[in-house]
């Protein structure tokens, strides 16, 4: 049977989704773009320059970037082994472990902060010994911010990467093994590269989540300018005084993350 003739212009790349899908996709993009446009329209562009250059803003922005990057690094270095174990190793209680890891996503941020207190706070069952013996105190410190952000953002990394690891063709790993590669080598030189796109995606997710983190941070680390006051906290406070300023600040945050994301994508995910 001959399919109905259907000629298409060359320019149109192969594998382009059909119109219907494109249309829906556009609706989706519009849905996300609209609120941002709204913000942009409302933003006090005249004063935004001052907001940007205000030392407090610069401080908060710097802190946000530092902590969110630190949190992401932490998430990746803890998350990769965790995802590996969850994806490849069948042990009793794996399901529970998996659920536990996904929980911070559903915990309301404030409660998350409190929970962190109960564990790592001065009187927390881990924080107390930590404080007594090592003199390390996490709450109200920059380290605390990183902990809070990691707690909230790492699940996104783990879930993404685990899913990717599951869909790797095991025969590549077998081939590597017969070539004499130990499990660690196999993982480092074969499995990981094969899931690189998902690793990047997961990192982006958790970075973005960490950058936007508010509740857990202000609860667990407080709101000390230069020490624990990240952009979202600064924005929250600004909001108390004058919402316009808050919007301006948010746009700054948004701009920064766009820049980072776009450049990152180019660096990594170009098809």
């Amino acid at each position: 049977m001959t399919a109905p003739a259907r000629t298409q212009r060359r320019e149109v790349g192969r594998g382009r989704p059909p119109g219907l899908a494109i249309a829906v996709a556009m609706v989706a993009v519009a849905f996300f773009a609209a609120p941002l446009v709204g913000l942009a329209l409302r933003a006090p562009w005249s004063s935004i320059g001052d907001e940007l250059t205000a030392p407090a803003t610069v401080e908060a922005l710097r802190l946000s970037l530092v902590t969110s990057v630190a949190a992401t690094v932490l998430s990746v270095s803890l998350g990769v082994p965790l995802a590996w174990a969850l994806a490849r190793w069948t042990f009793p209680g794996r399901r529970l472990a998996r659920a536990v890891v996904t929980l911070p996503m559903v915990l309301p941020p404030v409660v998350g902060g409190v929970a962190l207190f109960l564990a790592f706070g001065r009187r927390g069952f881990i924080g107390e010994p930590l404080d007594r013996w090592l003199g390390v105190s996490l709450p109200f410190s920059t380290a605390g911010v990183v902990v809070a952000q990691t707690f909230v953002s790492m699940p996104f990394f783990v879930v993404t990467v685990e899913a990717a690891l599951r869909s790797v063709d095991r025969r590549y790993e077998d081939a590597a093994a017969t070539l004499g590669a130990r499990r660690l080598t196999v993982f480092r030189r074969v499995s990981l590269p094969l899931v690189l796109p998902s690793i990047v995606a997961g990192a982006v997710l958790s970075w973005a989540r960490a950058l936007g983190e508010f509740g857990a941070t202000i609860t667990f680390a407080g709101n000390f300018p230069g020490r624990t006051q990240t952009m979202p906290l600064a924005i929250f406070l600004a909001f108390e005084r004058d919402p316009e300023a808050a919007i301006a600040l948010s746009l700054v945050l948004v701009a920064v993350s766009i820049t980072v994301l776009v450049s990152l994508r180019d660096r990594w995910l170009h098809t």
């Binding site: 404030v110 409190v114 706070g121 709450p139 109200f140 202000i218 407080g222 709101n223 929250f236």
Partner: protein, 240 residues
């Protein structure tokens, strides 16, 4: 005069001038006033540093509860102060008061004159959630005005309520007079008669958690001092 105020405060503080550093946990509605007061205090006592952490009173309370290194606590209502009672040292001072007011869109399209007017069908009213101070007080006010407390969209805090009116997403809200002044232009205030109105009290107290309770006490005293009061007044707070 300023010097008088200075005398008063320095008198309040015993012989040796306080020194060192303290951390003050204060309700976010006090952000501007306290930042200013803090600077004034530091000017008066050169070798001291006041660090602020502003946030929702309840959050601050539970942080203190969990052993946060706070020397002074200034929440937006007394309930939150109760929660940290056992951490307190020295007496609790009410350093400012606040009143409620109705806010409406500029031009008052629904010509709202009283609380009663806010509960009509076509007016979209916003109150703070009953759980937070401003919500509690607002509902109290309605009771006093003999108006049945309406089922309304409630905001997590005053600011959120005010913003909705400012954005035109709500027609009226009941907030603090202090907020009205900070949002001038975007909204218009409608006074609530004194007999219906409710007063919010702002307590402050030094805490035992901090290492520097002496300086803490000094700061608490200073907040009560005339100089600080002027600042508070300038931000729309009422004298205690």
């Amino acid at each position: 005069g300023a010097s008088g105020a200075a005398h008063a405060s320095s008198a309040a503080v015993a012989a040796a001038a306080p020194s060192g550093e303290i951390t003050v946990f204060a309700a976010s509605s006090l952000t501007d006033a306290f930042t200013e007061i803090g600077r004034a205090f530091e000017r008066e006592h050169p070798d001291t540093t006041i660090t602020f952490s502003f946030g929702a009173s309840s959050t601050l309370a539970s942080q203190i509860d969990a052993g946060a290194p706070a020397d002074v606590f200034a929440p937006a209502d007394e309930a939150d102060m109760e929660r940290v009672e056992d951490a307190q040292v020295g007496r609790r001072v009410v350093f400012a008061r606040n009143r409620l007011t109705i806010v409406v869109e500029p031009g008052n399209p629904y010509s709202i004159r009283s609380l009663a007017d806010t509960v009509s069908k076509d007016v979209l009213l916003v109150l703070c959630a009953a759980e937070v101070p401003c919500g509690e007080l607002a509902r109290e006010a309605y009771r006093r005005a003999g108006v049945p407390v309406p089922e309304v969209a409630s905001a997590e805090n005053v600011r959120a309520a005010l913003t909705r009116v400012a954005l035109g997403e709500a027609d009226a809200a009941v907030v603090y007079t202090t907020d009205l002044r900070s949002a001038d232009g975007e909204v218009e205030g409608v006074r609530i008669p004194r007999r219906d109105n409710v007063v919010a009290r702002y307590p402050i107290a030094a805490l035992g958690n901090g290492e520097n309770s002496r300086l803490a006490r000094a700061f608490v005293a200073f907040v009560a001092s005339a100089a600080a009061q002027r600042v508070l007044r300038a931000h729309g707070f009422l004298a205690p």
